[in-house]
């Protein structure tokens, strides 16, 4: 066949820009809005130890293009640093580690700005407002507990997310302190979780369309019957079942099965009937909000809407009013693909989109009324934000940030309202609570074994258990002693008991963990640093873009068993 060409090809408005080409593989995950959020950030890394995990995390953030980063590290590069940190080179020896690391990190992406802060942490913290420029702070252990407590206080006051990490030998840990209310609209649920067809709660336009498509179904040609969109089939057979069952909705499992059998009996193995058959169980559910959505709709921030609340709460309140009025959340408006004629599918798609648009318009008008009541002279909440909220309403998520736990020497570690749950975790064979306690003990050890003052050259000399050259067996015994005490205090605080043999096994396991931690002498293995740096970078991206769902609030990685565990501390 001779090649024929369209006379005028449609104009191309969306050829990718250079930036879109470079970031293509990540834009497919977090989109332009996520990218913009990343580009507006400034991350501060506070490093005391060998600092590889934090550097690796920054590498994974510089590459996708965060706005800026700073590294606070007063240390000078030693030979041992070169064997573990990829962002140092032989010529870095004797120079400031922060400067060298920043130089080699910014090479990765010309769009990112990096700054080295070489002053000791104490003098940095002594100044006013030092945290104001930053969007997120990442602190690597070891660190003086008093310094960590100060960082925590300042970041909490500014609602800046704070990450605290350990990476020692085969083990790593990080905890995240988020603001008391950290809402997420775009949680990226599985594609299959997004379908909301409202088969049990149809609206007039949908009912009308379905009736048209299924009218005279008995006498249709096989071709026509085989192209009825399955949503219409579901509506048709639900109707039929209800007519035979005094108008009752088929909500019980056996009712749904009856509808399903009806579909099978009438459609055989036609593809669209197969689709309908397969969709019965998940589609014949009344669209009830999940418990986490209900928690947001009934949250104090929604109920007693404050005039200066974040836009999220205005929209949440409007959605709550929508739900109270209609008994359903706003329709997301998407339609999964299904066997159908093109024009039928497009018509059906328009019906869902139009309904979603109406719901969105209703919510928007409520938001504007709420804004007026709150005294906004004109509406300031972006309609795009309202639209996203409406589309994702069934999957919105709220994290109630909790304060970071800090092991203060001489004071017992308290677990407060989490004591009972965490004491139970001690004997969970899948959990890593023992490792968390070993890291608390590590912090206690550092605090009680390090000289109280900063060195003359500005670097602090924090002593970790088992430093190269130290008596590691003696240190392991000390670390184990501290950890055992924390375990016993936790059990007491929880008001519970762990009987033998579980109790002795737990203590032996803690001893092995402490021995393994001491083996590394507070130093990082590059693989674990890189792995933990990857995990932390993923979490930072989730927090900065407010997309997906971050860890709440503590994550451990065991590089010997190759598994992780998340705890709520």
């Amino acid at each position: 066949m001779a090649p024929k060409r369209t006379a005028t090809p449609p104009p191309l408005h969306d050829l990718p820009t250079a930036k879109e080409k470079k970031y293509d593989r990540q834009l497919r995950l977090w989109g332009a809005s996520g990218q913009q959020a990343l580009e507006e950030t400034h991350i501060l890394l506070i490093d005391n130890g060998s600092g590889v995990t934090g550097t690796e995390a920054l590498k994974n953030l510089v590459l996708p293009g965060i706005g800026q980063f700073s590294i606070l590290d007063p240390a000078v590069v030693t030979e041992a640093d070169l064997g573990v940190n990829f962002f140092l080179e032989d010529e870095s020896l004797g120079k400031f580690r922060a400067e060298e690391t920043v130089r080699l990190l910014v090479e990765l992406n010309p769009d990112v700005k990096g700054t080295a802060v070489k002053e000791p942490l104490e003098t940095f913290l002594a100044k006013d407002g030092v945290f104001t420029p930053y969007t997120l702070v990442l602190v690597a252990a070891p660190i003086e507990p008093t310094n960590l407590a100060q960082i925590q206080k300042h970041t909490a006051a500014l609602n800046i997310p704070l990450f605290y990490l350990h990476s020692v030998g085969y083990y790593a840990h990080f905890s995240i302190q988020l603001p008391p209310a950290f809402p997420i609209v775009d949680t990226h649920p599985d594609a299959t979780a997004l379908d909301d067809l409202r088969v049990l709660k149809p609206w007039p336009e949908l009912i009308k369309f379905s009736q048209e498509k299924t009218n005279g179904i008995q006498s249709m040609s096989a071709h026509e019957k085989g192209h009825i969109p399955y949503v219409c089939l579901l509506l048709h057979y639900v109707d039929k079942w209800m007519a035979e069952n005094d108008g009752k909705l088929p909500e019980a499992y056996k009712d749904k099965t009856a509808v399903r059998n009806m579909i099978r009996a009438e459609g055989g193995d036609e593809e669209n009937f197969e689709e309908a058959y397969g969709a019965v169980l998940k589609s014949l559910n009344p669209p009830k909000p999940s418990s986490s959505v209900r928690e947001i709709l009934t949250a104090p921030e929604t109920q007693q809407l404050s005039p200066n609340a974040a836009s999220f709460w205005f929209i949440a309140r409007a959605v709550q009013e929508f739900y109270n009025k209609h008994g359903v959340l706003p329709l997301p408006g998407g339609l999964p693909d299904m066997k159908a004629h093109s024009n039928d599918y497009i018509s059906l798609q328009k019906i869902y989109k139009e309904k979603a648009r109406q719901d969105f318009a209703e919510v928007t008008s409520t938001v504007q009324q709420l804004e007026q009541t709150a005294g906004h002279s004109k509406p300031i909440i972006d309609p795009k934000e309202i639209e996203n909220f409406c589309k994702g309403a069934a999957h919105i998520h709220l994290v109630r940030g909790r304060p970071l736990q800090i092991a203060q020497p001489g004071a017992d570690v308290k677990f407060n309202d989490r004591a009972k749950a965490l004491a139970n975790e001690l004997t969970n064979p899948e959990g890593l609570m023992g490792l968390y306690i070993a890291f608390l003990a590590f912090d206690d050890f550092v605090a009680t074994h390090s000289p109280p003052t900063t060195q003359a050259d500005g670097t602090s000399s924090l002593i970790a258990p088992g430093e190269p050259g130290a008596d590691h067996e003696a240190d392991a015994a000390k670390l184990t002693g501290i950890a055992h005490k924390i375990v016993d205090n936790l059990i007491t605080e929880a008001g519970t008991r762990i009987e033998d043999p579980e109790y002795s096994e737990l203590k032996e396991e803690i001893e092995r963990l402490c021995t393994e931690i001491t083996r590394a002498g507070g130093k990082e293995l590059h693989n674990i640093a890189s792995l933990a740096g990857g995990m932390i970078a993923q979490e930072i991206i989730k927090v900065l873009t407010a997309q997906y769902i971050p860890v709440h609030n503590c994550c451990l990685f065991d590089g010997i068993a190759s598994r992780s565990s998340v705890l709520r501390i």
Binding site: D24, L27, E79, Y345, R512, I528, L531, I549, A561
Partner: protein, 443 residues
């Protein structure tokens, strides 16, 4: 345990490098000079032995110098490994720069393997990385024999299946050195997996093939007559329109002019049917089957693979993959962090490492052609151009042309006319050194 048992600092003699200092490796050497709480005392003697195993004896092969490969090379170099080879046939593209951190904008168009090797060797002097720009299929058993361990950071299932089958084929029961552990990583978005395979001893890539089921293809008639989604319009342009109008030009999915052409065709078709949502980016995604990829996930999975390699070679802690223990870690990072670490069981009827034929139920009225098509979609086989034979006769050979011609008439014949119930069927594909054996029973 007596503290005197372990020397605190080791200075292994380095052949011909008297000025080579271990000062850089102080942390690593100290770590390997102390006993581990979980290491097997029979296997792990702290001190010089593990240090030398890592820095001198181990020869590691890295397959792939992309997102995972760059990380793997860095991790191996900073784990103290000094003898590394890397294979990759690709050149650097601008869309690699958001994660493949050994490459810069000036490197676009150069081969990945050599740029990556050069960068790591410059950053970590003393580490030797030998690049090979080409396909893994270009190398033979003699080449693969020189390594102690193979780490794969690939995006292709085909290449994984090939190296897996090759390493399994190389195992000689008389020669323990012929067993090359295979460590494999893969990522998609915020998710990934790493796995350790001891060829012939534990579950292999082929045993695990059904963990990566192929995506269901859209029926051709939907593309041709009733498109509903923007993707349908793009596939129509890709599969049907290109063949019709540009048959003589080989489609190159990296060529912007080709993608633009497909995009325009898809857009016109979408407009004709009132379908919204065709974009350039989506066209590229569908045609190239693009999988989202980010630096952080690559970092996690590559480091997990290298951590297993480090444990395996140094014996400083138990690694994944020992028979009867966990060999597979799945990482899911989109909602919180979740890892699932488990033992994937070896399959006795695995076509590569098993010795039993699989059962296959066949409709006797089905044609051979229909059966062949089904092998592409079956999760456990995924063979696109299979050769089929029974013990007595050749049913179908796609190559060479003479045999193809001879066996082609069989394609239209029914299975009941070609086979008897209970007969054994051998299915192979020239792309892999694998032969599937099936016991056929008629439905």
């Amino acid at each position: 345990m007596a503290a005197t048992m372990q020397p605190e600092a080791v200075r292994p003699s380095m052949n011909g490098e008297s000025d080579f200092s271990r000062a850089k490796w102080a942390y690593l050497d100290s770590f390997l000079s102390r006993p581990g709480a979980y290491s097997d005392p029979e296997m792990f003697v702290p001190g010089e032995i593990p240090v030398k195993s890592i820095s001198e004896s181990a020869q590691i092969l890295v397959i792939g110098a992309g997102g995972l490969g760059c990380e793997i090379l860095k991790n191996l170099a900073l784990s103290g490994f000094r003898n590394i080879h890397v294979i990759d046939m690709d050149t650097i593209d601008v869309s690699n720069l958001n994660r493949q951190f050994l490459f810069r904008a000036k490197d676009v168009g150069k081969p990945k393997a050599s740029v990556a090797a050069e960068f790591v060797m410059k950053r970590v002097p003393g580490c030797n990385i030998t690049p090979f720009v080409g396909k893994i299929q270009d190398k033979d058993e003699a080449y693969y024999k020189q390594f102690n361990l193979v780490i794969c950071g690939l995006d292709s299932i085909e290449a994984r299946r090939w190296i897996n089958a090759t390493l399994i084929d190389m195992v000689d029961d008389e020669d323990p050195d012929s067993l090359k552990p295979l460590i494999d990583g893969g990522t998609e978005g915020f998710k990934g997996q790493s796995r350790v395979i001891l060829p012939t001893m534990t579950s292999c890539i082929e045993c695990q093939l059904d963990m990566h089921a192929p995506r269901a293809a859209v029926p051709l008639c939907t593309l041709a007559t009733i498109p509903r989604q923007p993707q349908h319009c793009i596939e129509w342009a890709h599969i049907i329109k290109w063949e019709e109008e540009r048959k003589d030009i080989q489609l190159d999915t990296d060529e912007p002019e080709h993608i633009t052409w497909l995009y325009q065709k898809a857009l016109s078709r979408a407009e004709e049917f009132g379908i919204q949502g065709v974009t350039y980016s989506m066209t590229q995604g569908v045609v190239k089957n693009i999988i989202p990829a980010i630096a952080s996930t690559n970092a996690i999975i590559a480091a997990s693979c290298c951590n297993e390699a480090f444990k395996l070679i140094s014996s400083s802690a138990p690694s994944l993959g020992m028979p009867g223990t966990n060999n597979y870690m799945q990482y899911t990072g989109d909602a919180g962090v979740y890892t699932f670490t488990f033992e994937h069981q070896k399959k006795d009827d695995c076509p590569v490492c098993g010795n039993l034929p699989k059962d296959l139920t066949v409709d006797p009225e089905q044609t051979l052609e229909e059966l062949i098509e089904s092998f592409a979609a079956r999760p456990e086989s995924q063979l696109k151009k299979p050769t089929l034979k029974t013990e007595g006769k050749s049913l179908y050979f796609p190559y060479p042309p003479s045999l193809e011609e001879q066996t082609r008439p069989n394609l239209k014949r029914k299975m009941k006319d070609l086979l008897s119930n209970g007969e054994q069927l051998a299915v192979s594909d020239p792309a892999y050194p694998i032969s599937f054996r099936y016991n056929v029973s008629f439905s």
